[in-house]
Amino acid sequence: MALTREGVAYRIAQDLPDGSYVNLGVGIPSLVLQFLPEGKDVLIHSENGILGVGSKAAPGEEDPDLVNANGDYVTLLPGASLFDHALSFAIIRGGHLTHAILGALQVSRRGDLANWKVPGQRVPGVGGAMDLAVGAQRVWVAMTHVTERGEPKIVEACTYPLTAPRCVKRIYTDLAVIRVEGEELVLEEVAPGVSPEEVQACTGAPLRITEDLRIMPVPPEVRGIPLRAP
């Protein structure tokens, strides 16, 4: 692991342009909010009916009627709007979100996404994952490159139940930034101190290395938060 989870989130935040409307999934994606650069207007959508979610509420100041999709008590930014679930999913399914940043269990070479169910999971539950995967204009994955047991999460074909076929466009991990182009994975960036060969060694599908391969521009820390693993 070359970057921390915050490091991955920081890298993604740099790629969100002014005027983006973004849904952040659970896990590493939820960390993106704190790294959005000043001076860029990026509105975060929460599937339970918010556009313009702010940071978590300070302890003791929680509004009991104001949570995000994770169930955290949150605040609203100036310019925020509130709406019901039907409108919220019209935003999602109707293609109005510019970006959905989602976690993943597996991503295939063709951009198939598996992130809602582990085989053998005993109680089923899916939430908004499938709607986000088919509806957002750009589906970007934020995840660790390998599992805790060292298995690749970028695979030739998903073995976990699919959330949606052929939906992922970009993959950001603690080791690399990869774009999905048709049936091909293109390695665009490697984390500081990581070689393309090391990335390929823990990726379960062939990577085409782009000619202008870059190092992920992630500083060691920001505001005291470590972005690179020790």
Binding site: S46, G49, G60, P64, V123, G127, D131, A164
Partner: protein, 228 residues
């Protein structure tokens, strides 16, 4: 026309065994917990509950599931923290689960309230949740056919009401409530405050009273007023 009911117990007094009951709420906001506690006191059986989550711990919907009152849960995300009552009953084969993508869940309810026969959604195509369902290609893109989803009773949570059943909401209390309010034969609203007709401005009324049958004002359920 006066839709006010004095207590939650009276509001749910005619709900029978085997009823299909929608409940609003996403997390604590918008969950009609006092109405569900009153429902528990009825000691009903074989209920079909339509709710986005799986109930939390041992109160309200979690309690109703623990009580053994629920035969089937139609839901989207019943695996959130605290939904152990559901997990235990499901793993023992005592409760049936129908899991839907959340957008499909809400749109099926909206379609019922809006008088539609069904709709086609791209969500779930190519996944196991589309198994057994009709898939149709429209303009070159595959869609899954979904039917409307209605209920005998809807228990909803709103903020302020008048005796005509006009409702306002607060913050993320909205979630499923405005949609469920359209999709059940009997709609019962648990509110924070009832005000005179005319006190709610037309601009702030989000659920017109035409959809609402009963209104009861009550304190918030103590387990929902969480502080760290």
């Amino acid at each position: 026309m006066d839709k006010c009911v004095p207590t939650c117990d009276e509001a749910v007094a005619d709900i029978p065994d085997g009823a299909t009951i929608m409940m609003g709420g996403f997390g604590p906001p918008g969950f009609p917990a006092q109405l569900v506690e009153a429902l528990r006191r009825r000691r009903l059986r074989d209920l079909v509950v339509i709710q986005c989550g799986g109930g939390t711990e041992d109160y309200a919907l979690g309690g109703l599931i623990l009580d053994g009152a629920v035969r089937k849960l139609i839901t989207s995300y019943p695996t959130h923290p605290g939904a152990w009552a559901l997990r235990d009953r499901y793993l023992r084969g005592e409760i049936e689960l129908e899991v839907l993508p959340q957008g499909t869940f809400v749109e099926r309810i909206r379609a019922a309230g809006a008088g539609l026969g069904g709709f086609y959604t791209p969500t779930g195509v190519g996944t196991e949740l589309a198994e057994g369902k009709e898939v149709r290609v429209i303009n070159g893109r595959p869609y899954v056919f979904e039917l409307p989803l209605s209920a005998d009773f809807a228990l909803i949570k709103a903020h302020r009401a008048d005796r005509w059943g006009n409702l306002t909401y607060r913050r993320t209390m909205r979630n499923f409530n405005p949609i469920m309010a359209t999709a059940a034969k009997v709609v019962i609203a648990e509110v924070d405050e009832i005000v005179p007709v005319g006190a709610l401005s037309p601009e702030e009324i989000e659920t017109p009273g035409i959809f609402v049958d009963r209104v009861v004002a009550t304190e918030r359920h103590p387990r929902l007023v969480r502080r760290t």
